[in-house]
């Protein structure tokens, strides 16, 4: 009585299967949302089709602070991300007497754009917070990522022929084909899979592996964060009102100190206070490592009160791993490779979960537990994309200016995915697959059209803006893929299912 299975490979395959099954559904959500996040600024642009104004980053931040000074002067902090070659609006997070809100600010007027939406931020947050309150979502994401790391390593060890799997695909052979597909997806992008899982864990390190900090700092968390970011100027509010000096000279001075590199983020602590602090951060779009360079200014006078550029090797190592995960440095082809890698990982997870069921179905009739797994697979693999597509349709259909519009979009996304999951649990998979794939295809086809979508398309084409047409084309591509899958599922039932059933009866 020793191992769970006889033989190293068998144990690895067993462990790979169970680690994959245990959290596979959450992993699928994380992978898909993460893949979407590669194009976070582009999704945000698609979701704000009227907000096409553009301005230089200095002018845009200037306009944003002017509007915020008039409309959120008592705020504890304004956190602004400047427009760049990918985003045209200022992304702002601020509080105006209550909770923090996230808004896209028009780069010319500085006011929030009419179509209030989280845009691509929804997918980004979902990727590691899973719509759960802090810190539970991040903890769950960490546990899933650790499980994923084990699933990847065991999957690799379970393998006999890494190289041959590059070229092996035997279609229309049931379990064999699913296994070949799963292997190819896993093996072809294996370095990406390992990198993205490991670096993902590192991005949440202070939450999921705080023990190094405990060992060297004890309870003094503030000291640890100060050592990690020694440049941060943390000055308490004076309690007296104050006015911000013009911000444009500060931004230019910061860029001069960055050696001409552009800034990307600006934070203004206690903006209406006599002790306000303006901190300007260098953009990390031109480097792999997300290393910090920042300059802090005394808000009312505009005097420099702190400057810091990270050069320490250990922190630099951390910043490179972090930067590799965020992929903000990736331009052009590299960005599409990130997207492709993420898509392959998402499909590897999905095919793995389907394989779990297919493998067992070909051996014997499915147990009750595996029949539930099969239905959950339908509900998650088709239902989560349905939620995402519903989010995009809601963005087009909800009128601009609606109260709590951004939250309503998210609610619609979650409800649509939830309903899809319930439907998948209620009906047999042979109905559930084509039904949900059909709904997904319809939503993907509808999203570029409904709510005046076609006029946005023609406006974008007239402007020479490629983002919106490309997104529309991708949506149509997803719809066609879903329709093709739907056809395959219905045809397969006719071809394969019958002999299998005949065998079971015999």
């Amino acid at each position: 009585m020793s191992a769970v299975r006889e033989g190293t490979r068998q144990v690895m395959a067993w462990l790979h299967g169970w680690t994959g099954l245990a959290l596979g559904w959450v992993l699928f959500v994380m992978c898909l949302a993460g893949t979407m996040s590669v194009f976070k600024p582009e999704i945000s642009r698609w979701m704000r089709p009227e907000a096409t104004a553009s301005a230089g980053r200095v002018e845009a931040i200037n306009a944003a602070t002017r509007w915020l000074a008039a409309n959120a002067p008592k705020s504890a902090g304004w956190y602004l991300t400047a427009p760049d070659d990918r985003a045209n609006n200022v992304e702002a997070t601020y509080d105006s007497g209550g909770d923090y809100v996230a808004r896209a600010l028009d780069p010319v007027s500085g006011a929030p754009v009419a179509r209030e939406t989280l845009g691509g931020e929804f997918f980004y947050r979902l990727h590691f917070e899973l719509e759960l309150p802090y810190p539970w979502g991040r903890w769950l994401a960490s546990i899933v990522a650790l499980t994923m790391l084990t699933a990847l390593v065991t999957g690799i060890i379970a393998h006999r022929r890494i190289f041959r799997d590059f070229f092996t695909f035997r279609p229309r052979k049931g379990q064999r084909s699913w296994l070949d597909g799963h292997n190819a997806l896993g093996v072809l992008a294996m370095p990406f899979h390992l990198m993205i899982t490991f670096s993902g864990l590192v991005t949440l390190a202070s939450l999921n592996m705080p023990w190094g900090i405990v060992a060297n700092y004890g309870n003094d968390l503030a000291a640890a964060f100060h050592d990690l970011a020694p440049g941060a100027v943390d000055r308490p509010a004076a309690g007296r009102p104050g006015t911000l000096a013009p911000i444009a000279p500060m931004l230019r001075e910061a860029e001069r100190r960055f050696g001409g590199a552009p800034f990307s983020r600006v934070s203004i602590a206690n903006p209406g206070d006599a002790a306000s602090v303006v901190t300007v951060y260098r953009s990390d779009a031109a480097q792999i490592g997300a290393t910090t360079a920042e300059v802090s200014f005394d808000g009312p006078s505009g005097r420099v009160i702190g400057a810091w550029a990270e050069t320490r090797p250990a922190v630099g190592t951390y910043a490179v791993i972090y930067g590799l995960h965020m992929g903000r440095f990736a331009n052009g082809v590299l960005r599409w490779l990130y997207f492709l890698g993420g898509a392959m990982l998402t499909l590897a997870v999905a095919s793995g979960m389907i394989l779990w069921v297919v493998k067992r179905r070909e051996r014997a009739p499915l147990s009750l537990a595996n029949r539930i797994v099969e239905r959950l697979n339908v509900g998650v693999i088709a239902g989560v994309p349905i939620g995402f597509a519903a989010y995009l349709c809601a963005n087009r259909l909800l009128p601009p200016g609606l109260v709590d519009r951004a939250q309503l979009e998210v609610t619609i996304a979650l409800d649509a995915a939830g309903v899809a999951l319930l439907v998948a649990l209620a009906v047999p998979p042979r109905l559930g697959w084509p039904l949900l794939l059909g709904v997904l295809a319809s939503l993907c086809l509808a999203s570029p059209v409904v709510g005046g979508g076609l006029s946005y398309l023609s406006q974008a084409l007239a402007r020479g803006d490629a983002v919106l047409p490309m997104a529309d084309a991708l949506l149509v591509g997803v719809a066609l893929t879903a329709l093709a899958c739907m056809r395959t599922v219905t045809r397969k039932r006719a071809d394969i299912r019958r002999p299998a059933r005949a065998r079971a009866i015999a």
């Binding site: 390593v153 592996m209 900090i213 700092y217 050592d227 320490r312």
Partner: protein
């Protein structure tokens, strides 16, 4: 297949799997945590350098220990390995003590 050689029924098998699951999850994370502490304190650089080195190493311990937990001959050996590593890294971290400053 060799799978036939393992009797997969009964509480003995379930207990075996459960013990290994615990060793491969809570055990693996405990090993990783102790490794993070030991490397953090061992590191020659500044306090934060040690933290980063320790944290990065720690993640690698999780799949390694999880695999050990299921490959080891017998649950006692599986848990034995976990306990030895926790003791080793824990003792190392404890003996070095927190860094000055």
């Amino acid at each position: 297949m060799g799978a036939r050689a393992v009797d997969r029924r009964g509480w003995r098998y379930r207990g075996n799997v459960a013990a290994r699951v615990l060793a491969g999850t809570i055990g693996a994370y405990t090993v990783a945590s102790c490794l993070a502490m030991a490397v953090a304190r061992l590191s020659a650089g500044g306090r934060i350098d040690g933290v980063i080195a320790g944290t990065l190493c720690a993640y690698l311990a999780v799949p390694a220990v999880a695999i050990w937990a299921f490959l080891a001959r017998g649950t006692w050996r599986a848990w034995g390995g976990v306990v030895v590593l926790v003791a080793l890294f824990g003792a190392l971290a404890w003996m070095i003590g927190p860094p000055a400053r």
